[in-house]
Symmetry: C2
Subunit: 203 residues, 2 copies
DNA sequence: GTCTATAGAGAGATAGAC
DNA sequence: GTCTATCTCTCTATAGAC
């Protein structure tokens, strides 16, 4: 469900753009109304409160992330799956930098009205990574210093965060501070850091 | 310089704790005063404004990070340097989770009064990683699909973000959502993801 | 150097006309 | 379904006593 009259969409878009730079708490309903080109009353006609507006925004944005990741992985396994997930996530960050910034700043907040919603969505997205990692980790050879397959000993959610964090931070570093780089260059750098380019050959 | 009378310290500590969960904009000067056990007037006696208070806080916290990282690296090179940096950063995140949360949520904001200060400090910390990476990357064998040493082709700041992001996100995932795990387990999972545990043996 | 009290601006939310 | 006008509360910051 997208729109009643386009107004809802305009409000969500305006709210996202503003919150990406000022943060949610720093974005006022007056700002959103002005940017969306509607009156403040219309905000409250479409959303019951500021909290509810941003919950809807995060639900829409982060909610589709897990689907996109699952689709990107498809039937791939092992390192190919990791590669696909990393580049898909990077592309999504590039296509929606505002949402990525918002995610980065909200994901570890524990006092929000929408905390449960966001937590569930975050968990779902991480799970796609964790599944691919469990499978790839089991298949890969022993890694340096740690005993064989399953190197992380069941800590696949931590490894998933690790990969997710690597992509999110690099992606935003690129978009916010080094926009002159190409997408492929950034993707290659991330994949290099994850493929052991920094490690010696003991694996 | 730490204190005039302990009041400054108490204010900074209170501000950090509150901002870690509510965010800076969501933290009021009244909250800070109450938690610090002083009157609001004392906040403005010690800091000229709310912005200045939080700038001082970030400067103190993030500013010491680069020093700590440099010290952790010491004279190590190659993968040993990366390992030392990763574990040092993880330990610092664990020791100061509040600051880590704050960093995660402020690092990509571009509208803050203290933006220039924070950018410079962030850059300094990333540089320590970038230097170690340039050296390790040049020394390591060819990585999968990409031509030999210097795999990232000068994108060492992106690789640095990648490693930094991996540690920051995993560290917070651990502290916020999976505190029952041990530090060593988390460190091992992060290092595994960076040492190529997920990649095939083509390197 | 720390307090209380308050000024003044800005925030979320609602009422009611059109 | 959208607007304008306004209510009420909260926030930053300051003034002035102690």
């Amino acid at each position: 469900m997208a729109r009643s009259s386009g107004t809802k969409r305009a409000i969500l878009d305006a709210a996202l753009e503003l919150a990406a730079t000022r943060g949610i708490t720093g974005t006022t309903m007056d700002d959103v109304a002005e940017r969306a080109g509607v009156a403040k009353g219309s905000l409250y006609y479409n959303f019951s409160s500021k909290d509810q507006l941003f919950e809807a925004l995060l639900e829409e944005g982060v909610g589709s992330l897990a689907d996109a990741l699952r689709e990107a992985r498809g039937t791939l396994v092992g390192w190919a799956a990791i590669e696909a997930l990393v580049t898909a996530l990077l592309d999504r960050i590039a296509a929606n930098a505002a949402l990525a910034k918002l995610m980065a700043s909200e994901i570890f907040r524990t006092d929000r009205a929408w905390q449960k919603t966001l937590f569930a969505l975050r968990h779902e997205a991480l799970l796609v990574f964790a599944e691919a990692i469990e499978q790839a980790d089991a298949a890969a050879p022993a890694s340096a210093g740690v005993a064989g397959p399953g190197a992380a000993g069941g800590a696949s959610t931590i490894m998933a965060s690790s990969v997710f964090g690597a992509v999110l931070m690099s992606g935003l570093e690129w978009l916010v501070f080094e926009p002159e780089r190409s997408r492929d260059e950034v993707a290659a750098a991330i994949l290099a850091s994850l493929s052991g380019a920094l490690a010696p050959r003991h694996r």
